[in-house]
Every structure is written in C-alpha cells, then in structure tokens.
C-alpha cells in the first residue's frame, strides 16, 4: 500500500493543486465511472491520491454527487486499509509486517521505530515530519526486513541500520 500512496502528493498544504482543481478532478473521475457498478472505490482512490487522505467534506461531496449514502462511504473507507481519514506526515515510514519480514526480525525494527520516533503505528510525529504505518506485505520478501520511507525501500534493516536511516531524514 505504501508504495502506491507515496507516489502521490501527500498533502495539499503547499502543493501545486488548489482545492478547486482537486474537486474538478474528483468530479471527472465520478463522471468516468457514473452508472457503473463498483464506481465508489475508484473514486475514493482518486480522491485520496489527490489529497493524501479523505477529509470529511470530500466524502460528503462524493456522497452528494454519486447519490451514495455517507454511511456507505464511511463503511467502505474504514473497511479497506488503503483509505485513511487523517493526514500523514512529510515522510511516511511504512514497516512491512509480512511473514518474511517478521521471520527475519521485523518486530525488533518496529520497536526501534516506535522508540526513535516516539509514536505508535498509525500516528504522525508532532512536528509532522514522520508518519508510522504498518503494512501487510510489500512483496520484497527477498530483501526482508524492509522499511519504506516515501518511495525508497530500505532493505535488510537492523535496529542499528534503522537508526542510521532515520537520522538521514532528520
């Protein structure tokens, strides 16, 4: 999940696209899928891709435009781990909790990250620099344990290496 997300703008703050432009693009996506079964998920994906997360007012707008109850949208948003309703930090640190990473010591890397960043998975540092996420499997099992920061995948992490990598972002 992380890889997909991090290719996209993380936040609108200071970004190139204005709020109006974002709404235009979300609307275009709605038009493209209008009338088709299963249109909701691609629309939400597009919206999240543009904004970085799904704020309530955006979900409301989608609900009105698509004539889908907000409760349904909320249900879908909270069901799939891909969607988030809170903004993320400047660097999204995604630790893979897949089996291979676990077998090769991923848990200890997670402990290191929690200690170093001072936050739990699913939250963002106070200064907004880092978000910590647990992801299911990045599919880089041959390089386990892996932690991706933004688009960069850091392979064969150890607690020591992890600290070094983090400090290079500080």
């Amino acid at each position: 999940m992380a890889e997909a997300e991090t290719k996209q703008p993380v936040s609108t703050a200071g970004g190139k696209s204005s709020a109006a432009e974002i709404f235009r693009q979300v609307q275009a996506e709605i038009e493209k899928n209008r009338g088709q079964a299963g249109a909701l998920i691609p629309v939400l994906q597009k919206a999240q891709a543009l904004i970085g997360y799904l704020p309530q007012h955006v979900m409301l707008a989608i609900s009105r435009d698509m004539k889908v109850p907000l409760s349904t949208i909320y249900g879908v948003t909270t069901f799939y781990s891909f969607f988030t309703m809170v903004p993320r930090g400047k660097h999204v640190v995604s630790i893979c909790m897949g089996t291979s990473c676990y077998v090769r010591g991923g848990e200890r890397i997670l402990n290191t990250l929690e200690k170093e960043l001072g936050i739990e998975p699913g939250s963002t540092t106070k200064d907004g620099t880092f978000s910590l996420e647990m992801v299911r499997c990045l599919g880089c099992c041959g390089l386990a344990p892996v932690v991706s920061i933004g688009e960069k995948v850091n392979r064969r992490m150890t607690p020591t290496k992890m600290k070094e990598v983090l400090s290079s972002y500080a």
Binding site: E3, F82, C137, A144, T158
Partner: protein
C-alpha cells in the same frame, strides 16, 4: 499505429515480422535489466541508468538495453541478463552502478563475461526448476510484439477457430489443472458449472488479490507476463459462453502490476485481441482492472466480488456459489492469476504435454515464493509434488549462517507449519493438507531454530484478527480469544488448561466461521500445537522460550539459551569495564567449572547472539575463560554461601560434571555428599575424554579441588554394584551420573583384530597416562567430538597420516565446528560420504579398511539426508590403526531393577525433575541424554540438586533451579556507543603454531589478553538493557 489483427493469418503474419525483429536483435548484444518490484527496490533503475550512460559514452551501437520483469532470485537483486550473440546468455546479480563500467568494458566490448559476478545457472537452484509460467519473463512485459513472437495469442486463435467451447473445457479438464489459488479445485469442472448455469450475461474474474504476507508470485506474473493472463481469460470467456466482460482484481499494493496490466489491456485492444470480433470471429470480450483497496479477506471469492461491486468486502454464505450467482448476481468464474496463465499453455501445447510435469494427482508446475530464513530467497517454479527437502536445501540452498532448519510455513495465515521430520513430503495439495497446512497460493516461509513457533502462531492470529471482516461471531470473537491465550503463554503466564481451551476454540472457529478466512485462521495454531507441542510446554512449564524470541521470558537471548542461564551480558560488560574479578564471581554463582567450560563449551549462547545480525556473534565463551583464568592466576577466591549442616547423606554415582555439580550444590545446602567414581580420577569425560591440549589437567583439577574443599567426599576407584545397597548403607537419595563411557561397535567384519580401538577407550587410556600403541596411518570412523579428539590425539602420538571417515556431509558432523577446523589445520583429512565395510588384516593385525562411498538420498526424521551406499563403489585404504567413534552409551550393568533403561541403553528419567521410577533415585547427564557437552551435564547436576533437596525435605519436585544467598554484583548498565555497534570483526584468541601442536600436548587455544578481551567485550549489544517488547 497498431493495426487490428482481423484473422489468424494476420496474427501469424504479424508474428513472423515480430520474430524477424527479434532475430535481428539477437545479432546484437542485449542487456536486459530486470525491473520487478524487488529489483527496483534493490536499485535496478540505477544500474539501468549506469548501463545507458556507459553504453552511450562508449558509443556502442551493437548493444541494446531493454527492460524485463522479475526472474526470481530476489535475494540477489539487482539482476541483469546479458545475451551475447557468440557468448550466449549469462545473468549478473547483486549489481551496483559502480560495477557497470567494468561489465561494459570486459563483457560488452571485449566479450569476456565477468564470471565472478554471475549467477551459477548450472547450480541445483536453477537446474531443478521447471520454468513454464515464468518463462516469458525475460521478455519485455510492455511489448505485445515480443509476446506474439513467442507464440502469444496462438492458443486463443486455436480455441476460437478450431475448437468448440466444450472442447476447450474438456482439454482443460483432461490436463488436470487445479486452482492455483490454493484450494486445488479442478478448473475445468468449475468452468463447466458456469457454462451450464442459466444466464445471458456471465463474468470471468481474475483473483489477483494476493494477500498472503510472504507470497508475491502472482505479482511476478502480473508484472512480467500480463498477456498470458489476458489470453487465458479470453479463452475462458469463450469456453464458458455469454461472457463479454471480465475483471482483474489486483491489490492496490501492486502499483507496478496494475500499471503493466492496464498497458497490456490497451495494447490488446489496439490489436483487436480484446473488444468486438476478435481475430475476425464473432467473439467479443473486454477486461477491466479493478484495484483492490487493501483487505486480505477480499481474497475470498464472495468478498472479492462484493468489493468489485463497490461494497465493503464482506463475504457471504455459500451456496449459492458464484458459478450460479456471482458478480451482480450473474454466473461468474473466479480463477487465480496463475491458473489463468496456465490456460494458453494447455490449449497451445495440448493437455498431454502440459500434464507431463508433476505427479498423477497433481499435474503441472507451480510457482512458489521461497522466503524467510533461506539462502536463495525468491521465486521458483517447480513441478508439483517436488519433495519439500529438495526445495529447501537444493533449490533454496539451505539455511543462512549454518543455522538449523526448524519448520516451513505453507499457505500463509491460512496454512500451517511443517516440521523438520517431514522433508520427504511431496509439495502438492493432498500431502500438504495431510500435515495440517494448505498449499495456499504458494508462499513458503522457512524458519530456523531462532524462530519461536508459539510466537509464529501468535503472529498469524494477529494478522487474521486484524483482517477479519467482523461479520460472523466465531471468527470475530474467537480469534481474539485465542490470541489472548497465546499472548499469555508467550508471557509465561499460560497453563496447560489453556492449551486445551486453545485447541477447543481452534476447532470451533474453524468449523463455525462463515468464510475461508475464519475457517482456516486456526490452522497455524493447530499445526504448531500438533508439531511443536513441546515448545508450548516449554513456555508454560519451564517459562522458557527455546528460540529466545518471547522477550517477557528473559533478559537476553544468550543468557536464556545457556543451559545454566549464565548471565552472559553481565560478565561481558564487567570485563569491558576491566572488572575481571567481579566477572569471575558472577560466573561462579551459576557455574562451578568456568575455566573448563570456558575452554570446551559448544556455546549455545553464541548461536543466539544478536550481534551476529550486525557481523558475528560475541566470543562469549572465550571471554568467560579469560575472566576465570584471570581469577586463577591472581588467586581470587570465590566462597559460595553455605547453609547449616543437615543430617541426610546423598550418594552420587559418577564424578563427571553432572555428579560434581550436584555434589557442589547439595553440600552447599548442608547435605553430606559422597561421590563414587570407578576411575582413578574425577572429572568424567572432562578428565578422560577431552585431551590435554584442549583442557589441561591442572586447570580441571583446580576446579574439582574447589568443590572438594567444601566438604564433598570423593571415593575414587570405587565401583557401585547396585543402587539398593547405597540405601542400605544409609544414603537417603541417589543421583546417577555415570556418563556414557561405552563405545558402540561398527558391527562390520574383522573389527576384533589388533589395531582396532574404541575411541572412548583410546582417549581414556591416553588421558590416564598410558600410551596406547597406535600406528602411523590412522583411520577414525565417526563425526562427533570423540572422533575429532581421537584423530588429533593420534597425530600428537606420532601418526603420520590421519583420516576421519564420516558417512554424511561435513556440515552434518555433530562435532564442534572450531574443533573440526582445528583438526583440518593440523593436517587431518576429513573424508566425507564414506563408510567402512570391512577391516582388512593380516596375522591378526590391521592392514587396511574397506570402505564404500555413500550418497545422500531423502531425509530422515532429524532432517538430515540419509546416506545410502553407492553400489560397486568399494575401495580400500591402507591403514594400520582404526579408531571407532560412532557413538557411546552408558554402562548400566549396576542397575538391577526399579530404574528403567530406554531402548538405546540410556537411563529413563523425567526431563525436568530428573526423577527415575524409583523413589529417591535421580539420574542425569550423558547417562540419560546420551553424549552431550559439559554445560548440559552441569545443568543436569543443578536440576538434580534442586530435586533431591526438595525430595529430602518432602516438598513437591519442581523443575526450577533456585540459587540464593549470593552477594549481589553490580552490573554496569551502559548501552554500547554508536561507534561500538558499527561493524567490527570478532576477535579470535591466539593459537599455538600448528607445527608445535603436532609434537606436543600443549594447550592449543590461549586466553584473550586483557586488552583483547575488553575490546571483544565492547562488541556486546547489551540486549539485557532493552525494554521487553510486549504486545
């Protein structure tokens, strides 16, 4: 601009042109950079850039740089294939941009491949694979032209123009293709259900929601060969009928796969291979990619279909099955990526060809993701029913760091763990299910001795708990309840009753849950309970995690793994501070033989040392020796606290490390202890088996004297003839620690002549100062520590040529690795895969040994390969001395009745309390376990002392060793600095020159000097300071 291919002729014409282009290209040097997700993560794009730059700078017009997808060896990314028109095809691995100029210079310009950077394509890793699904993955996945040039869309053309829909289905049925998503349902049968279902609109769906953590083979196909899936789906649509639309559900975590697949769809539409009137027929079909949004449960078919409909991915009750009521309530077939990818192969080459791989029940090949603790991790493709052991050890190259294989998890969170005893299992649907796992989509996760199976079960349950949709109660409520129990167990708070509840809950969740997720979620628990029950018991009864994973149970992995739980980080940090005396005292609180154990221990602690993740383990054993030797040389005394005297007398049979340790602990408790020893010396195997050059007699004696001076009575040259007489003499309890001093015979003809020695006898005589008369050419048979000791001793006794003959491979030898190495350094030949068949003699004296070569076949229950004689490979070696060292057992002739003897000749005792069947009689050490190292005997002595103490005071026996009354020693709690954790080689103590070794019995390994010791001690990561990582 592409032209629609309106007939088979046009397809073939296009193919001919494409083929010609490929042929033209083959005249040049082709550099293919493999850009799968792993490759990109590994830095392949930088390597690609470097090639482009270098080739441009050198103006090489005969080089073409192209892109290709993953070919499997993920561990060695980035990977680049170079195809040279004259030199053929090679694959570079582990490339960095810095290496590129050299490759360009040597290989692309001078036509000399840089061999040391190449993958060995002749190795079993590649030779044993059978590549079908992955075979197109060195073509450019973005090019439909390349796919068509390689027979792409020929199967679709054949189906549309030469076969009726029913023919297609019967061909797939005949081939025997079974669902590659894991359940193994016959694909042809599934299709025929959907074909028969009533409906004027039907769907085909590709399940690309590869959610099993640790499995990504579907991604490789999606990224590497999208057209094969697309073609398969088109053929399926034709065969089922009334299908005009299909969906490929691909998980959002695979952005590259989605992009590649969408690109393939666009191309196929351009060429008229999707859309209306495909290849000029009236067949119409189109396909949409639906990116999943991250939900494991969507791998379940009804949940996946709900997700495509834009809903929450909740599964629903079946029946009705999707074959009748699927997507939008229309008949739908849902097949896995790999199943679809196999369809063009079946139709193009025919069912017979396709079914030629695999076994009768399970045909074809299967891709697997071989990951975890394995040397060659990555994607592999093998015929179904390939033995598990072959996949792990031949293809996978075994376990890294010489660790021991423990289990393999098959089928992800829905599967189970298969232990070491089942390596001959053919990997197919039925055999794997029988062992409590499932095939799943094909994730194979290898675990070694450092993985805790209780924690593994917990890991998978955490996963399924997080991924459960919450719709049905058994799964929603049952899994967290199971998890709660597992968490209790991993924190040392579990009880045996919990295990019963856990199994019951597992059965309930499995049988009552609505969908596959809940039904299979208990599998990891059930399979670990079945195959690793002892490990659960260790957590519950002993509060011990054998893999040293469950943090709440211990301070540091080294300490937890040590059989006597020596405080390794404690004394190592004291040494680092230069407080050698304190270090010695800390060691002595748990170990009466620090100088001896510091020399001969097989150091299980170092196996678990986390420093090995940075570079190498800390030299814990040698540090212990250094502190102990320092105390000895400086006359530092350790006086253990003594309890008031008690009246009871305790008899100990055998003065080895187990017996002496028990005596030491019991005398401290105030008992009157007598140790009976039949030999003229005390120390057991430490005195009469371990050679002087490994453990000097003077050192051992000093440690024994420390014990005796506390008031232990030692009776040498005194053989105990029966246990009951000891009780008659007034002893209230007996500890049998007689060791295993009887050597096993080889059982071959001619072994009763002069010049054949039993290793244990030979070592004993030598250690007792006699000079057994050996010859000049010696053969030692066996691979244990006695074999190595005997070989090295014979060299020192003047033998000119010494061979160790071992029937398995060197890595299987049970001897301590350092000792084998030392033997080789001294010029001893280690001949593996050979076994003696006959001792040759003349005039009653050995003249030679007839041997036969062995080969390794299959796997035994210990996970080692079984040696089998190679017919007709007999050969003889001329030797005048043969030393047999193939096994030892205790001499239990003094045990009459009351105490049980096991089949192998060892004494039967409770592994925790060491109690035998006779009240008041305890047994431990080699006499119970068979030959093991000193530290295990010390541990047995401590357990025996605890049990005897409790027995004599009428308390229930307990397995826990309690030692109290010691003065506390302050341990520095300073974490290592950043400088100290940087990669740094392990220090090795100085060793005696090899020349000097052969002529004397002088000690070979010397102690660390203080500066060396402090330096080495500073490598310790101080795991004991880490706060326990509880959930």
């Amino acid at each position: 601009m592409a032209k629609r291919l309106m007939s088979v002729e046009e397809l073939n014409k296009f193919k001919a042109v494409a083929q010609k282009k490929l042929d033209e290209r083959a005249k040049k040097i082709q550099v293919k950079v493999h850009l799968g997700t792993c490759g990109i993560a590994g830095g392949a794009k930088f390597v690609q850039e470097a090639f482009v730059k270098e080739v441009a700078a050198r103006k090489l017009s005969n080089v073409i740089i192209t892109e290709a997808a993953c070919i499997g060896p993920c561990e060695r990314e980035p990977v680049v294939t170079v195809i040279h028109p004259q030199k053929g095809r090679v694959i570079y691995c582990n490339l960095t941009p810095e290496q590129v100029p050299t490759i360009v210079e040597k290989h692309l310009i001078k036509s000399e491949p840089v061999t040391e950077w190449l993958l060995d394509l002749e190795s079993p890793t590649f030779k044993l694979q059978h590549i079908r699904i992955m075979h197109n993955q060195d073509i450019d996945p973005m090019s439909i032209e390349e796919y068509i040039a390689r027979d792409g869309y020929q199967a679709l053309a054949k189906a549309l123009t030469q076969m009726k829909p029913d023919d297609v289905i019967s061909e797939v049925t005949k081939a025997g293709l079974r669902g590659r998503g894991g359940a193994g349902f016959p694909t042809g049968t599934k299709w025929s259900f959907v074909r028969r279902a009533v409906g004027d609109e039907k769907f085909v769906v590709c399940n690309g929601d590869e959610g099993d953590p640790g499995a990504y083979m579907n991604r490789a196909v999606l990224e590497g060969n999208p057209h094969s899936i697309l073609e398969g789906m088109a053929i399926g649509a034709y065969a089922i009928g009334n299908v005009r639309r299909g969906y490929a559900y691909i998980r959002a975590e695979y952005p590259l796969a989605i992009e590649t697949f969408n690109h393939a769809l666009e191309q196929a539409r351009e060429y008229g291979l999707l859309g209306k009137n495909i290849l000029g027929t009236d067949f119409e079909f189109d396909l949409t990619v639906f990116p999943g949004a991250g939900a494991f449960v969507c791998g379940e078919e009804t949940a996946l279909l709900a997700s495509i409909e834009g809903k929450r991915g909740n599964p629903r009750q079946r029946p009705p099955f999707p074959a009748n009521k699927g997507l939008l309530d229309k008949p739908t077939t849902l097949n896995n990526v790999e199943s679809w990818s196999n369809i063009p192969l079946i139709i193009h080459h025919g069912a017979d060809w396709w079914g030629s791989a695999g076994s009768e029940q399970c045909k074809g090949t299967k891709t697997f993701c071989l990951v975890g603790k394995i040397n060659n991790s990555g994607l592999i493709e093998v015929p179904l029913s390939t033995p598990l052991g072959q996949i792990i050890f031949d293809i996978g190259g075994g376990i890294p760091g010489g660790k021991k294989f423990k289990a393999i998890q098959i089928g992800g969170p829905s599967g189970g763990c298969i232990p070491i005893g089942h390596l001959n299992t053919p990997v197919d649907y039925e055999a794997v299910t029988k062992l409590g796992a499932i095939m799943g989509s094909g994730g194979l996760i290898v675990m070694d001795e450092n993985n805790c199976m209780v924690d593994v079960a917990k890991f998978f349950l955490q996963f399924t708990r997080d991924e459960a949709c919450g719709k049905c109660t058994p799964c929603r409520a049952g899994i967290p309840k199971m998890l709660e129990i597992l968490s209790k167990i991993t924190q040392g708070k579990g009880s045996m009753e919990d295990l019963a509840v856990l199994s019951e809950l597992a059965e309930m969740v499995g049988s009552a849950s609505l969908c596959g997720l809940g039904q299979t979620a208990p599998n990891p628990v059930l399979s670990t309970l079945r195959h690793f029950h002892a490990e659960y018991e260790a957590h519950i009864i002993d509060k011990h995690c054998p893999a040293a994973v469950c943090q709440p149970l211990f301070k540091a992995p080294c300490q937890h793994t040590c059989p006597v739980e020596l405080d390794c980080p404690g004394y190592v940090s004291l040494i680092k501070e230069g407080k050698y005396a304190d270090a010695y005292k800390l060691i002595r609180q748990r170990l009466p033989f620090p100088m001896s154990v510091g020399r001969v221990c097989d150091h299980p602690c170092e196996v678990k040392c986390r420093r090995a993740q940075v570079d190498e383990s800390v030299s814990i054993r040698d540090l212990k020796r250094m502190a102990a030797d320092y105390a000895y040389e400086h006359g530092i005394e350790f006086v253990p606290p003594m309890k008031p005297r008690r009246p009871e007398r305790v008899a100990i049979v055998g003065a080895g490390p187990a017996g002496l340790t028990a005596a030491y602990e019991l005398v401290r408790e105030g008992y009157n202890v007598t140790v009976f020893e039949s030999l003229p010396v005390a120390g057991g195997m430490m005195a009469v088996a371990i050679p002087e050059y490994r453990l000097p007699k003077k050192i051992l004696q000093a440690e024994i004297d420390n014990i005796l001076k506390l008031g232990v009575e030692l009776k040498l040259n005194t053989k105990v003839n029966d246990i009951d007489s000891l009780f008659k003499e007034g002893y209230k309890a007996v500890f049998i620690s007689c060791g295993a001093h009887k050597g096993d015979k080889m059982g071959i003809s001619g072994e009763d002549v002069e010049g054949v020695f039993d290793a244990i006898e030979y070592l004993r005589e030598l250690n007792l100062g006699k000079k057994p008369r050996i010859g000049k050419k010696v053969a030692v048979v066996g691979g244990g520590n006695s074999a190595i000791d005997a070989a090295r001793d014979s060299l020192r006794q003047g033998a000119e040529e010494v061979h160790i003959l071992y029937r398995r491979e060197r890595r299987d030898m049970p001897a301590i690795d350092e000792e084998i190495e030392a033997a080789e350094n001294e010029g001893i030949h280690v001949d593996c895969l050979t076994a003696p068949t006959k001792v040759l003699s003349q005039g009653g004296k050995v003249t030679g040994l007839e041997c036969i070569r062995m080969e390794l076949k299959g796997f035994d229950s210990s996970g080692r390969r079984t040696p089998q004689p190679v017919k007709g490979s007999e050969y003889t070696i001329a030797v005048d001395t043969v030393i047999e060292a193939i096994g030892q057992r205790p001499d239990t002739s003094f045990i009459k009745d009351g105490v049980k003897i096991a089949k192998g000749g060892t004494i039967t005792a409770d592994p925790r309390t060491l109690a035998t069947d006779q009240p008041g009689v305890f047994a431990g050490g080699d006499a119970v376990t068979g030959p093991k190292t000193v530290i295990w005997a010390v541990s047995a002595g401590q357990r025996a002392a605890t049990s005897i103490n409790r027995y004599l005071q009428g308390k229930p026996l307990s397995p826990f060793v309690e030692r109290d009354g010691y003065e506390p020693i302050e341990i520095p709690s300073i974490a290592p600095t950043e400088e100290e954790v940087k990669e740094r080689a392990r220090m090795h103590p100085t060793e005696l020159d090899t020349k000097e070794r052969k002529s004397s019995f002088k000690e070979v390994v010397l102690a660390f000097r203080p500066a060396e010791g402090r330096e080495e001690a500073s490598r310790c990561l101080r795991c004991d300071l880490e706060v326990g990582g509880e959930e």
